[in-house]
């Protein structure tokens, strides 16, 4: 379970500006998971670990959806999502934006079971339902809430509270992204119900519900899908129907993970890891330029130019191709290179 800093919750102060800031933080937080997941995903060699790759790819897609949903909610309440500025990109290794630094340091690292368990499952871990507190009570008791789910619960509370005083959904509906992901077509954020539906989907896809590991689309939530990789077994309904027996077990078909099917990619590189003038440096510079172009493209996408989805997808595909090339490119050491996901608005 990732614990968020209390400061992140301070924005939930009852003001529209605070709510918008909180949603902007949520966008940053959702985005911050994507580079580490992609790094692990692209470290898989062509044709190897296919099922594992499929699981991670599907989770990345949902993280992108979550970012889009957050942007739509922020637009619906007349905010302006921002993605194109240097601080938008977290430093790896480091805490997730708003995360408590002593608790979880997120690296850029090639795929390994331990990475899945120690990092990815921690990011997505739901709070134990038995101890799941009611946000209002917590706030009343003066105890800061701490999980991503609680953070979103706090946003919902604010949406409700501020809606009760008057319509806050005054954003231009043309700024909504309603293509690209199926749920975006269904959840067009324009009122309290649709905003809550969007947040519920984000939380349930990430953590599951309080009573089930499945999300509304009947897929295991991210935490459980990463756990499938770690345990090497699909999560299935428990075939033993006994009182008190767990409802689900990791007892389905084996999910093979072959460590030899992962490139020996460098862990936690930054641009200075690669000597100036080296092939890895050149490839990394171009990758970072492409990545920054994607952030620029998405800022336009979520600020009134939804037709920029096509160019944004093109940039994502280009990043993939470049990352795969880098990860199969040997550096001077025995390791291969990996993209550093740094903000870089020119190709030097």
């Amino acid at each position: 379970m990732i614990r968020l800093k209390a400061g992140l919750f301070a924005d939930l102060d009852g003001t529209p500006e605070g709510l918008r800031r909180a949603l902007q933080n949520a966008i940053e937080l959702e985005h911050a998971t994507i580079p580490p997941y992609l790094y692990a995903l692209y470290s898989i060699k062509p044709g190897a670990n296919l099922e594992v790759a499929g699981v991670i790819a599907s989770i990345v897609m949902q993280e992108m959806l979550h970012m889009a949903l957050d942007c739509n909610i922020l637009n619906a309440i007349d905010g302006k999502p921002r993605l194109d500025y240097p601080e938008f990109v977290p430093k790896y290794p480091g805490p997730l934006p708003g995360g408590v630094e002593s608790e979880l340091i997120v690296p850029l690292a090639p795929l390994a079971k331990q990475l899945v368990k120690d990092v990815f499952m921690v990011i997505e871990e739901p709070e134990d339902p038995l101890h799941f507190p009611v946000i209002k009570d917590l706030l009343a008791a003066g105890k800061p809430p701490q999980t991503i789910g609680q953070f979103y619960a706090g946003i919902i509370e604010q949406l409700k509270e501020q809606s009760a005083k008057g319509n806050i959904f005054t954003g231009d509906p043309r700024r909504q992204l309603t293509t690209g992901f199926r749920p975006l077509q269904a959840i067009h954020v324009h009122d309290l119900d649709s905003a809550i539906a969007a947040i519920d989907l984000i939380v349930e896809q990430g953590e599951g519900t309080k009573t089930s590991p499945l999300d509304p689309e009947h897929q295991p939530a991210h935490y459980y899908r990463f756990a499938e990789i770690y345990y090497g077994k699909k999560l299935i309904p428990n075939p033993e129907i006994k009182p008190g027996a767990p409802e689900y077990v990791y007892g389905g078909h084996t999910i093979e993970f072959d460590p030899a099917g992962v490139w020996p990619v460098v862990t936690n590189p930054n641009r200075d890891t690669y000597p100036r003038g080296s092939m890895a440096r050149n490839l990394n510079d171009t990758f970072n330029y492409t990545y920054t172009s994607l952030l620029k493209s998405m800022e336009l996408l979520f600020n009134g130019q939804p037709d920029r989805l096509g160019p944004a997808i093109g940039l994502m595909e280009s990043m993939k191709e470049q990352a795969l090339t880098m990860m199969s490119t040997t550096m001077a050491t025995e390791q291969t290179a990996g993209p550093t996901f740094e903000y870089q608005p020119v190709n030097p």
Binding site: M279, D285, T292, S293, P311, G314, S318, E321, P345, N347
Partner: protein
């Protein structure tokens, strides 16, 4: 006006061009005989040459403003433009570099490029769209072999211009004002020093040095209306060896300023690939066959090329005299090289009567029924040649219908599929319009769609002088005329589309990183993305296929197939052809021929296969 005027700036940096090399051989297009080895790196046509997984990207990398000129002098150093960059798009994927055809590889076009002027932190001062254009005037610029010795030039316009906050830069304000009417800028850049060593950090990169200036309304987009120095091919090279050491180049006489603007950027050889300009002695600009000297050109100063892009304002330190202006108005300009011993070391000059005619756009893709209206501009001593008679002929001499693997499909046949008037007459502005009409060539090349043709417009008046004088072999119109295409109904994978997708899968192994184009299920799984990419205009850098060689008729069929799924919700599969039918298809026996090895490179190899050489043999 164009970049070749007193208001311009230069930029210097690297380009990246990473085409797939699997498609370098026309016989690799034949699905029936395609071998897995063609996708492997390795020398020659039995392999896939040096970059089989190329993705066709074209990028500007690290391009810095390296010279700024206004009012016949360097712009003040206080102008912040001196610290700016020239960059490509920061909102979309990179541009693409695309051959017209495996049998016409000498007009590779850049598609979908944005050109920006920005600060080092990425703040935009200007954003624009590069109008698609190919290189021209490729030549043996450096000693040695392979593509790395080549030099070539691109000229086009930048349109869709958005200016940023240029309040701090008097130069950019002047540039914006000078281009206010046309809303276009003129751009020209020279490329050389291409690195084709896969283990090199600069693999697929080269040197780019260029100029940007205003563009006047009504002037051609892809060449300069002015004075054109010509030369002839000495022969024996990979591309073109100028007999007088100086390659084709343009100049503009600015009578008001008393200056000649001369662009030597793609005209002077280098000591090594991408290296300094080779010292060839004193270079003198003059007229009357060199008898009257105007100025000697100081091309050997360190950084001369980088800081000027080879653009010279002559005479330096003074204006052209009235006599000189009168003299050059009716006499060919000349460039003469003289070595330390006073011997002639080379030359180039305008043809007799200063005659010049060229097609502005000179690469076309046509479907049956399409008509290209080619704008041919005729000048004499840089002035519009009103009423010029332009004759046009089929000329396939620069096309490349050969393969080391065996007989390659013939080009430029049937001629009946391309019609154009034998003679056209220029209007009062020297502009002649050549209408080229395409009809169905009837699939003469079987496994390569359509047919390629060359059509060369020539000034009738210049014919009297023979071809040795005023003849630039690269100045002709290249046409790719697509076949008609009738898909099965309803359209199915096996009924119509499998061979098309198979060919792309064969020729562009980079696609394996995304999907297997040869596999029905993989294509279906990516149907949404393919719908998006195949639905884009060619100018979009995301347009598929990257090669821009899919006929509109086939594109329409693919989009319909993707958009109109069958009952199972997937694009229709149809039934595979019976094995017997496949077996009955005759396989041409590959003929092993001595290969030209890795050193030549893609372009050099293609150029060695030009018909002009075949006929000489």
């Amino acid at each position: 006006m164009s970049y070749l005027n007193s208001l311009r700036f230069n930029f210097t940096g690297q380009f990246q061009a990473a085409p797939s090399t699997v498609n370098n051989d026309p016989l690799h297009f034949d699905n029936r005989t395609f071998k897995p080895s063609y996708q492997q790196p390795g020398a020659g046509a039995q392999n896939g040459w040096w970059n089989p997984t190329g993705d066709a990207v074209w990028r500007l990398i690290g391009c810095k403003v390296s010279g700024v000129w206004m009012g016949n002098a360097p712009a003040p150093v206080s102008d912040p433009i001196h610290g700016y960059l020239v960059a490509d798009s920061d909102r979309s994927v990179s541009a693409k570099l695309v051959d017209l055809d495996p049998e016409q590889q000498s007009v590779s076009e850049i598609w979908g490029m944005q050109v920006r002027i920005c600060t080092p932190d990425g703040t935009n001062l200007m954003r624009s769209r590069y109008a698609t254009a190919p290189f021209n005037d490729i030549w043996d610029r450096a000693p040695g072999g392979g593509d790395l010795i080549a030099g070539a030039a691109y000229q086009s316009v930048l349109d869709d211009i958005e200016w940023g906050d240029i309040g701090n830069s008097p130069f950019l304000q002047a540039l914006r004002a000078a281009s206010a009417e046309s809303r276009k800028l003129s751009i020209k850049f020279n490329v050389d020093g291409y690195d084709m060593t896969p283990t090199s950090p600069n693999f697929t990169r080269g040197r780019i040095i260029g100029s940007i200036g205003p563009s006047a309304a009504g002037e051609p987009n892809h060449f300069v209306i002015g004075r054109h120095f010509t030369t002839t091919d000495r022969g024996g090279g990979n591309f073109f060896v100028p007999s007088g050491n100086i390659n084709f180049c343009p100049a503009v006489v600015d009578a008001g300023a008393g200056k000649i603007y001369l662009d030597l950027g793609n005209a002077l050889p280098t000591t090594v690939s991408g290296g300094p300009i080779k010292p060839l002695g004193t270079l003198t600009l003059g007229y009357m066959s060199g008898a009257a000297a105007i100025d000697s050109i100081d091309y050997q100063t360190p950084d001369w090329y980088e800081s000027t892009a080879g653009v010279v304002e002559a005479p330096a330190g003074r204006k052209l005299t009235a006599d000189e202006l009168k003299g050059i108005a009716s006499n060919p300009l000349t460039l003469t090289l003289t070595d330390a011993q006073g011997n002639n070391a080379g030359s180039a000059g305008e043809p007799q009567d200063g005659l010049y005619a060229r097609a502005d756009q000179f690469v076309y893709r046509l479907s049956p029924g399409d008509e290209a209206e080619v704008r041919v501009f005729a000048t004499t001593f840089g002035q519009p040649y009103a009423g010029a008679r332009v004759v046009s002929i089929f000329d396939a001499s620069q096309l490349q219908p050969q393969s080391p693997l065996g007989p390659a499909p013939a080009v430029a046949t049937p001629e009946s599929a391309v019609e154009f008037p034998a003679r056209i007459v220029a209007d009062g502005h020297g502009l002649a319009r050549l209408a080229i009409r395409a009809s169905d060539p009837g699939n003469p090349r079987h496994y390569i769609d359509g047919q390629v043709y060359g059509v060369r417009p020539i000034l009738e008046a210049s014919l009297a002088y023979g071809t040795g004088d005023s003849y630039n072999p690269w100045d002709f119109v290249s046409l790719l005329v697509f076949n008609t295409f009738q898909p099965d109904e309803p359209i199915t994978w096996f009924g119509s589309l499998q061979p098309i997708f198979q060919q792309y899968a064969n020729l562009y192994p980079v696609m394996k990183k995304f999907l297997d184009m040869a596999d029905y299920d993989s294509v279906c799984a990516n149907a949404k993305l393919l719908q998006l990419a195949f639905g884009l205009v060619l100018e979009d850098p995301n347009s598929m296929p990257i090669t821009r060689d899919l006929s509109p008729a086939k594109r329409k069929a693919i989009l319909r197939w993707l958009n109109e799924p069958g009952e199972d919700g997937k694009p229709r599969k149809g039934t595979p052809p019976p094995e017997a039918a496949l077996a009955a298809t005759p396989e041409p026996a590959p003929v092993e021929r001595p290969d030209d090895g890795p050193v030549r490179g893609g372009k050099a190899s293609a150029m060695s296969r030009r018909l002009m050489f075949q006929r000489r043999r």
